[in-house]
Point group: C2
Chain length 571, copies 2
């Protein structure tokens, strides 16, 4: 493809509506254009990237025995009413009526459709296991579509559904998909982690999310550098940390003027945060006060806390509510003296219970208790793991220090068990002659989201840096002057040679200054830029600039082709 | 793929709802399943066929410089309101509202979307010409979806749009697409014709339809065996046929009892139909009577007649209406004596004007005129080409006898000129500095319809007969007994060898009687069936049955592989 003909309209300015980097760069580099909120056209460069991701996904699905098919985008309401999800989905589902006033939706997912399809044609255990998948547009009417392709209303997904005789079969299918997903994101050239996840609204239990690591990621994750443990921060389980062995001293009150924060308190008393108990006050939906206790250097995991207390909602208690129950002592609250009360629930992190001679608020302005001994000076209502995991916490599996990162969810695998096969009567006759519900799993890859996530992970101030396996083209050939006949002739030769040898190259034949062509090359993010200038003509040296590292290499025209291939294999 | 694992559920019975052969066979052979009226799931075998058609289409679009992209399925109403088509489309358009009550439709076509997209990013003549295409679901809410994939509500189309500076550029783009379409349907292994067509509701003028020839086709077409002329029967132009040179004789009336039909008249008078004038009476929407005259062996083309008369509607005049104006003489009407009247329009086919001493009705029961000489004994109001072309009529281009056939429209190419670029202000600055509207064309291939049309053209009483280039698999290997170890071992070896050599083969490893396996093989329509039975084991002979011809061939295991490839190249 010659750049003069390529429909890749680049923009000088960053459009104001784009908040995240992938959205900004895809607009600027001519990859996408908006048709309506959360609805985009994919221009030719984006479409090439998407096709490459699709091909990788398809090959890995086929390798595990997946069979590709295509189900309708437009789905009749009846099957959604059978599972009850017609009402559950609410406004997030695009709904429409046909000319005969029948109800349809645009599929946000296809569990109902595939289960209905399979129940009609699978009757015997001999037809199982079965893995069926499609790559297709999905629809979700987001209340506030934003972040470009990261949260759109029309997006491309691969969804595979597995049907097995029993849970052992489901485990096998699940493990195959775990392995396939690992291969997919590895082949895409992305840094990612598979993390343990909640299974959320889709139902079932047993789930992993595949997260592309990127600073802009919506999800905070932890992972172990030594073993393969990884989890959502909210989900990560923690063992209590044991404190130093020390003789317990009697509780006493001390003056601590102006020490509302842990930092101020530690400075005033000349102690480390590990010696302090942090007390946070919440209010439940039923009006009770929850005092959550964690060590001074730890943070409360509000999702864990909510689950342990067993309430529907938790909000930080405001000073007013607090004053009514505990007196006015904001910044100086603590658990001592409040245990055993009906209107106050004390929840202590397990690590707090291992602390000896700690410091905590005394529920009076400018006063703290010292030598507080949990279990002696106060008794919590609940002792549990309620803290957020932190960088360098011991890995719950192997004990090595964990690392934290932010991630973008690009894939998720779920065990559905018999949730849909039961509600939709998808049964089979087993070899014992009995009718049993099929045991199902579902497995999604956000294809268009993976493209956006790849950019969130791979860019610099000049533009996108594509991993070679999913780059729209591998290389751009830039003649410094397209009016120089010798340069153009060599550029054409290189262009022909590269494409004939499986290197996808474009030729920037536009009559533009080299600076303009270099800027566009960086913005679009071709892994290699091959510059044909006077050096190439006079010294027989082909200049290759590596987009990711910025390094410039020179090769003779005799061996540049093999060098290009070597470089690409590493990018 | 092993057939025991393949999701291709075949049916013994033909489902009652399926009216046409492609619908029946795709249901029976496990290619499609219905989700709602006109909405289908494509099962794995169908999906493989569709992917092959898509690949052929994509390669030919790319070869002409087309760039693939993907536009949204869900489209905002505003752009459709700009062109006025939001109201024109009526109930055929699927419409929906999002949660913010904004109007959207599911794209039946993408002229509005692509024109809006291109107008935003193309400003200069240097960016033209441009050919952009996509392969995607399209939506049409048919009032009575039927015939399976032939007239569905969700279907797969390739649509390309060309943008040029001027009409000369459009001609070039149009010719490229004409050539590409010819290559596409040739590569698919289909017998087809490109016919001149009206451009219909989509607008513009200058159009060809690509028709797959099949007895079940909705459209009647004519084509020349000598030159490449082909047209819709309704559209085919005809030169008048000259009669024999003969001396004109005076008009006279003769008794012709019981001769209401041309056949009876010819038998009674012992003349050939070429000597008679057939008179058909129509009534226009304004109440006038139209007498249409064609030679006795010809038929009236009512579309041509309607256009020549210039009325909105034409219906056959009933006897009552006729009696009021012309008297009671049904079966004996003729033009003589009715010329010059305000309430009767006489339209004569040009061939009629070349007749000498003809026979026509005398407007009295059981009476005809003989020696009628058009232009002398009556004067028509309009002389024009109003007859239907017939088998063996001279080709309007070269004069050779034409053939007739029925066709299924699988592609159409259109010149849109500036219809959409004007209404949507898609302009560019030309090299003379002037702002001009882009000159557009649009070009569609019905991808899912092509699959159905391929079956309508290629089947027998046992099932589908796939052309090899779009067959889901090239060959099925059938061990006669899957319990025979020697047969299974050889079958596995053949299976491995074929797939390793680019022949897509499935292995029917099911524990079924050979008759069941043969029946399924014929129904699904694999081009080749390779049977591994005692002959293969004992005599080292591999049996290959050709699905299309039914012939059975035997090859030694040493050279069957090259023979398979040779056979496939011809299928």
């Amino acid at each position: 493809m010659r750049v003069s003909q390529l429909f890749a309209p680049t923009l000088r300015e960053t459009p104001a509506e784009a908040e995240v980097i992938s959205h900004q760069l895809m607009l600027r580099a001519g990859f996408i254009r908006k048709a309506a909120g959360g609805i985009y056209s994919y221009l030719p460069l984006a479409w090439r990237v998407l096709k490459k991701i699709e091909t990788i996904v398809r090959e890995e699905m086929d390798a595990k025995g997946g069979q590709e098919l295509a189900m309708p985008v437009i789905q009749p309401a009846e099957m959604w009413q059978e599972t009850g999800r017609w009402s559950v989905y609410g406004d997030e589902m695009f709904r429409l009526k046909d000319r005969h006033n029948r109800n349809f939706c645009l599929g946000p997912t296809h569990e109902e459709m595939i289960t209905t399809l399979v129940r009609g044609d699978v009757r015997s255990y001999r037809q199982l296991p079965l893995m069926l998948y499609q790559i297709q547009n999905k629809y979700r009417d987001e209340i506030r579509p934003r972040f470009g392709l990261m949260r759109g209303r029309e997006f491309i997904m691969k969804d595979l559904y597995s049907f097995d005789r029993d849970e052992a079969g489901l485990d096998e299918s699940y493990n195959k998909m775990y392995d396939a997903y690992t291969k997919i994101f590895t082949r895409c050239g992305l840094t990612f982690r598979a993390v343990e996840a909640d299974s959320g609204a889709i139902g079932g239990s047993g789930s992993h999310e595949f997260m592309v690591i990127a600073e802009s990621g919506e999800a905070a994750i932890v992972y172990c550098g030594d073993c393969d443990y990884a989890a959502n921060v909210e989900k990560a389980e923690l063992h209590p940390i044991t404190g130093q062995v020390e003789e317990r001293l009697p509780l006493s009150e001390t003056d601590t003027p102006g020490t509302k924060s842990i930092a101020a308190l530690c400075q005033f008393l000349d102690i480390c945060p590990e010696k302090t108990i942090k007390t946070l006050a919440y209010r439940t939906d039923t009006g009770a006060i929850v005092l959550a206790l964690v060590r001074g250097d730890h943070e409360v995991n509000e999702i864990k806390l909510l689950n342990k207390v067993g309430c529907l909602r938790l909000d930080m208690a405001n000073e007013e509510a607090l004053a009514g129950i505990m007196g006015s002592c904001a910044g100086y609250i603590g658990p001592v003296g409040f245990d055993g009360r009906d209107d106050i629930i004390i929840v202590a992190d397990a690590t707090v219970m291992n602390m000896v001679n700690a410091v905590c608020g005394a529920n009076k302005l400018d006063k703290h208790y010292i030598n507080v001994n949990p279990g002696y000076d106060f008794t919590p209502d609940i002792i549990a793991d309620i803290r957020l995991i932190q960088e360098n916490d011991p890995c719950p599996r192997c004990g090595a220090p964990v690392k934290t990162a932010r991630g973008i969810e690009v894939g998720q695998i779920f065990k559905l068990f018999t949730k849909y096969s039961t509600s939709l009567q998808a049964t089979y006759i087993d070899d014992d002659g009995k009718e049993k519900p099929m045991v199902m799993g579902c497995y999604g890859v956000g294809v268009s989201r993976t493209m956006a996530a790849a950019i969130e992970q791979n860019y610099d101030q000049n533009g996108i840096i594509w991993p070679a396996p999913i780059a729209p083209y591998h290389a751009v050939i830039v003649p410094v002057s397209s009016k120089d006949e010798a340069q153009m002739a060599l550029a054409e030769k290189v262009y022909g040679d590269l494409n004939a040898n499986g290197v996808e190259a474009v030729l920037d034949d536009r009559n533009e200054r080299p600076g303009v062509k270099f800027k566009d090359a960086d913005l679009i993010g071709y892994p290699l830029r091959i510059t044909i200038g006077p050096k190439a003509i006079n010294d027989n040296l082909i200049e290759i600039k590596v987009r990711r590292t910025g390094e410039t290499l020179y090769f003779s025209s005799a061996d540049y082709l093999s060098k290009v291939k070597e470089l690409l294999a590493k990018l």
